[in-house]
């Protein structure tokens, strides 16, 4: 064998051996693909396939009339990728970045430096720098118009409360994951939320997500809508009056509830100060609290309802019985002094309630066994939750009889040594108004899916009968007498509207001691003939006066008046207006501000002689002044001017308008006048205005609403109405 042959043969041995490698490689590739393939591919799905949710739209919340209270609004998150390729180069040019920042800061009002520092302080290689959340659709369009690469705009759904703070405590709000935190949003979170869908995406080791076209999808089920019992009009009235009451009496806070006694539907529920659920973080936490269900208060005299019902039903009191209260209004019971607000002298049973005598109430209560009294309190819902469909309700505290001290019964009889929530008081009075049947309060009438089919319909829940109907029939006049000139609820009267109610005044306990701070409350219902509304008002620590009749009472009256103006049923039942006796004396009507023709019509209808100085235009002055008595045949002199001069415009606060006398005007001129004052008008009926709210001469903030009620009616009675 020569050298070459030897070399070549050795070479072929080597070749043969090396050819084993590609053979092995081939087998290995086949093995990986066909024998381990499935396992490896599963492994891949695990590491690279991800499912990300497609968010479901949260359901809307409507009021009783179908007005949208809460819905979802689209907004945009803006992120910036500075490393994107622009014209074949990496990185967005500086001038474009500056342009973007300038635009953003002009849109949001934040400084350009803030955005610059966000970009600068981002980690290197960062390709997702969030610059702004909650951009509006308009702002998004403007940013898009700049056409800058590297701008990432992501759509978000944000909860939007259409009327801002309206019914804020009832609706509640959602957190950043749009889960309800409080209120209806929390209680009905599961129903509102819906079910998120799922989308398959591919994820790389750096957690970047890639769209996976044709990948299986599970569509989201949108949330159900809530149709609540809240009436936006009543809610607005309640909030409006509560706010002005709290401001007028310098109270710490105020709470109000309007309830339908027949069904237990809560038509309005408010607290003031309030907050905007669109931006729940921007107000005090205390402002977000719904005192109506979470406040444990000693109710004071409103609790005398329990004593009255128990005493009448147990027969321990006679209506003609006379209670003699001491001259100084004080008695000593087991070494504790019990006072009346004023010495009240001799009282019959009706007067005990009407004038709210603590001394007499305690005397009546002590005629009963404490177990009996406890049973009545318990039956009327005290000490247990109402189970309203809201989160955060407390049960209050009603001690068991064996826990009672010797003075518990007399003190509890007028609302001390017991803790209740405002809603419990309203519920008890609602039961009273509903002939003794206590209804469970509720807020959601029905739940609908997105097609409008009803998922759940609320049926009124009867809890129990709190007393015999006959008992309540006897007590109704007693509580109606509270809202008369001689009752503690004298400031709650509304002409022509029969109201039954009770004032409540309670000293506040701070750290176990009674202080000189009060809670004033009023609870009542109307019309007495067929109660439609139970209204509860409470002011905490009013500074003007502690008395509920003085503080909460007028708020109640204003609300009742405005509701009466809105409610046609009540309007029909107000027969009194027609039946008032014709006036003996005519008072000078308020004609200032009317046009010459209007004044002429009004005065000639009233048979009041008059003369004008000036030819045309509006009445700017009148003698005698409106309201002063006018003898038959006495003349009214009116001064006319071309332009309508606002009365005492200098004394009217900026942004406020003084309400002119609108009664007697025709509806169209009244509306024109109101809108001239930059106020809104709410019209009920037509023809001549015969009732208005607020009254003439009151100041109203511009943009607020004046309610006008028109009726084609003899003008004679108008002066009578203006009498109050």
């Amino acid at each position: 064998m020569d050298e070459r042959t030897a070399i070549l043969s050795r070479m072929f041995i080597v070749l043969g051996l090396i050819l084993l490698i590609p053979t092995a490689l081939g087998f290995q590739l086949i093995r990986i693909n066909y024998f381990e393939g499935d396992e490896l591919r599963t492994l891949w799905s695990k590491q690279a396939i991800d499912q990300i949710p497609i968010p479901a739209q949260r359901g809307n919340i409507y009021d009783a009339n179908g007005t949208l209270l809460a819905t979802n609004a689209v907004d945009y998150k803006l992120a910036f990728d500075p490393k994107v390729q622009v014209n074949g180069k990496i990185g967005v040019p500086q001038e474009q970045v500056a342009q973007l920042i300038k635009k953003l800061s002009s849109l949001t009002g934040r400084s350009a430096a803030e955005y610059q520092s966000k970009i600068r302080s981002a980690p290197p290689h960062s390709r997702y720098i969030v610059l702004e959340r909650n951009l509006s659709v308009l702002a998004k369009d403007e940013i898009n118009a700049l056409n800058i690469k590297g701008v990432i705009l992501e759509e978000n759904y944000r909860r939007k409360y259409t009327f801002g703070s309206l019914a804020a405590h009832t609706l509640g709000f959602v957190n950043h994951e749009t889960n309800g935190r409080i209120g209806l949003e929390a209680h009905y979170n599961d129903e509102l939320k819906g079910e998120d869908g799922l989308r398959q995406v591919r994820r790389d080791p750096f957690n970047r997500i890639f769209e996976y076209i044709g990948a299986p999808k599970k569509l989201p089920r949108n949330g159900y809508s809530l149709h609540t019992t809240i009436d936006a009009y009543l809610q607005a009235i309640l909030e409006d009056e509560l706010r002005s009451g709290v401001e007028q009496h310098l109270a710490r806070y105020g709470t109000g509830i309007i309830m339908d006694p027949k069904t237990g539907a809560i038509k309005a529920m408010a607290n003031y100060p309030t907050y905007d659920p669109n931006f729940p973080g921007s107000d005090d936490e205390e402002n977000r609290r719904n005192f109506a269900i979470s406040d444990m208060i000693e109710p004071g005299s409103t609790f005398k309802l329990v004593t009255a019902i128990a005493a009448v039903e147990q027969g321990v009191v006679e209506f003609d019985e006379v209670f003699e209260t001491p001259e100084d209004g004080e008695v000593v019971i087991h070494n504790l002094i019990l006072r009346d607000h004023d010495p009240l002298g001799d009282l019959n049973f009706q007067e005990v309630i009407q004038k709210s005598s603590n001394v007499a109430t305690a005397e009546i209560a002590m005629r009963m066994k404490k177990e009996t009294f406890y049973q009545y309190a318990r039956n009327m819902g005290f000490g247990s939750e109402t189970n309203v469909d809201l989160i955060g309700e407390v049960s209050g505290r009603l001690a068991k009889p064996y826990e009672w001290s010797l003075v518990t019964l007399p003190w509890m009889s007028h609302g001390y040594e017991i803790q209740t929530t405002p809603l419990q008081i309203a519920q008890a009075y609602a039961a009273f108004a509903n002939n003794g049947m206590m209804m469970r309060p509720y807020l959601v009438e029905r739940i609908e899916d997105k097609n409008g089919s009803i998922v759940k319909q609320h049926k009124p829940v009867e809890i129990r009968r709190i007393a015999k109907k006959s008992t309540l029939n006897k007590l109704l006049p007693v509580f109606e007498s509270v809202v008369t000139d001689s009752g503690t609820g004298n400031l709650s009267q509304v002409d022509g509207l029969r109201i039954a109610g009770k004032t409540g005044t309670a000293k506040k306990v701070v750290n176990g001691r009674y202080t000189n701070n009060y809670r004033g409350s009023f609870v009542g219902f109307f019309p007495v003939e067929d109660p439609q509304y139970v209204v509860f008002i409470l002011l905490d620590e009013p500074k003007t006066s502690g008395y509920g009749g003085f503080t909460a009472g007028p708020i109640f009256r204003n609300i009742a008046m405005r509701i009466a103006g809105l409610d046609d049923d009540i309007q029909r039942s107000i027969k009194s207006v027609d039946e008032f006796p014709a006036p003996q004396f005519v008072k000078a009507p308020f004609v200032t501000g009317l046009s010459k023709d209007q004044a002429k019509l009004l005065l000639s209808n009233l048979d009041v002689p008059h003369d004008f100085s000036g030819k045309t235009g509006y009445v700017t002055a009148q003698t005698p002044e409106a309201g002063s008595p006018l003898n038959k045949g006495q003349k009214i002199s009116l001064t006319l001017s071309e332009t309508y001069a606002e009365a005492d415009s200098a004394s009217v606060k900026e942004g406020y308008a003084e309400i002119p006398e609108l009664r007697g005007m025709n509806m169209r001129s009244a509306m024109a006048l109101v809108s001239e004052l930059e106020l809104n008008s709410e019209i009920i009926g037509s023809g001549t205005v015969f009732a208005q709210y607020p009254k003439a001469g009151e100041l109203l903030r511009e943009g607020y609403t004046v309610t006008l009620r028109g009726k084609a009616k003899s003008l004679e009675i108008l002066t009578q109405v203006s009498d109050r």
Binding site: E3, R4, A6, I7, L8, R10, M11, F12, V14, L15, I18, L19, I21, P22, A24, L25, G26, Q28, L29, I30, I32, N33, E36, G37, E39, L40, R41, L43, W44, K46, Q47, A48, K83, Q85, G88, I90, G91, H125, R202, D204, P205, F206
Partner: protein, 396 residues
């Protein structure tokens, strides 16, 4: 006498004869050329697909990098053509000088080299960074071939043949192996195979292999990086851990397996690799896995087939027909060098070898390896021109 060759003579050792520049008309091996072009095309597509993330970390774009890659391919192709025109005997003349120079470079890289990916393998000269190990590899292959062909008369002599050859082999592989164990390993294997083919005593070689295994085991204990990889390999052969898929041992190998499995028969499509995001250096060490994923079993098998084709062309046609011993040995050395790099890269990706950082010639991204692969193919092409039996070759 330094070496014998019918086309050069002893008096022309220093000077350059007319024959040094190949002017003969017959072309070089077309199959070889085509194979290289196919490899380059495969590589270009796969690199473009997998280099995006790397581009990002360098603040550049895949487009810019792929242009760079194309330029390197062009240079490598150009070098290949130039070398194929230079008579391999001329190259052989400078083998000793080249060997000494490359050994100096190897020492230099240990002293002044730049570190990348945990190993000191790069040398920066006038702004270019290159791996002296590649220079040394080519130099050693050429020099061993020259020595073996010179010493055929006393080839079984231990002192005259075995020791001088082993001196260069051990010195070069040792220096390379300090920082790059796998390259040194392949080089050592190729040298031993060359010695075997060059008729060196099997007994002497066998003894050496035994010593080599011992030495390898000793080196293994030194580099933490290397040890780790071996451990990964060991644990990986035991079984595929289905839990902890993102961390832990065998991660790279497993991701490569997943890539291959995802490819199935026809692949997921050009540029649609997903595993490029999960594999380290997908444009280099794991390029084979990317090709397997994008082009499927057909693509990966084709790649292996092309390397096998190069092996068969290089050995069966070029080496067998080379006009002298030097031609045979040089052809075997160059062929094995290129083919083994390719097979090892594929073997790492498919999990029959432990994870090493070896590029796939002409396919992987990276300048130095491409240049020297081009150089070696150039030598092969040149040898193919000086064949004994023209009938067995295809000429272009």
């Amino acid at each position: 006498m330094i070496y014998t060759s019918p086309h050069s003579n002893i008096s022309n050792i220093i000077g350059t004869s007319v024959e040094d520049i190949d002017t003969r008309k017959q072309g070089s091996d077309r199959f070889l050329l085509m194979s290289v072009v196919i490899l380059m095309t495969f590589g270009m597509l796969a690199v473009y697909s997998s280099i995006a993330f790397f581009a990002e970390t360098r603040s550049t774009t895949a487009g810019q990098l792929i242009v760079g890659h194309l330029i390197k391919l062009g240079i490598a192709f150009f070098v290949m053509l130039i070398i194929s025109k230079i008579n391999y005997h001329t190259i052989a003349k400078f083998s000793r000088v080249g060997m000494v120079l490359s050994l100096i470079l190897l020492v230099a890289v240990l002293a002044f080299g730049t570190e990348q990916f945990g190993a000191k393998r790069w040398l920066n000269v006038a702004g270019f960074s290159f791996q002296p190990s590649m220079v040394a590899t080519v130099a050693l292959i050429v020099h061993i071939s020259v020595l073996l062909s010179e010493k055929q008369e006393y080839i079984k002599d231990f002192k005259k043949t075995f020791l001088p050859i082993m001196f260069w082999v051990i010195l070069t592989c040792g220096l390379i192996g300090i920082e790059d164990f796998s390259s040194a390993g392949i080089l050592l294997v190729v040298c031993l195979v060359l010695m075997f083919v060059g008729r060196v005593s099997v007994i002497q070689l066998g003894t050496l292999v035994a010593i080599g295994i011992l030495g390898g085991a000793l080196l293994l204990g030194q580099s933490a990086n290397r040890q780790d990889r071996i451990e990964q390999y060991v644990s990986q052969i035991k079984d595929i851990p289905s839990e902890q898929i993102l961390q832990g041992s065998g991660y790279q190998a497993q991701q490569a397996h997943i890539a291959i499995a995802r490819g199935e028969l026809f692949g997921v499509g050009i540029g649609k690799s997903v595993q490029r995001d999960f594999l380290p250096a997908p444009y280099n060490d794991f390029i084979f896995a990317i090709i397997a994923e994008e082009y499927g079993l057909l693509g990966s098998m084709s790649l292996i087939f092309i390397f096998t084709l190069i092996l068969i062309r290089g050995v069966v046609f070029i080496a067998r027909n080379a006009e002298d011993h030097l031609g045979v040995l040089l052809a075997v050395g160059c062929t094995l060098m290129i083919v083994l790099y390719g097979f090892v890269n594929a073997g790492v990706a498919s999990g029959i070898l432990p994870v090493t950082g070896l590029p796939m010639p002409f396919v992987s991204y990276g300048g130095t390896s491409m240049l020297f692969a081009g150089l070696m193919i150039g030598i092969l092409l040149n040898i193919s021109k000086h064949n004994r039996d023209r009938r067995t070759l295809f000429y272009g």
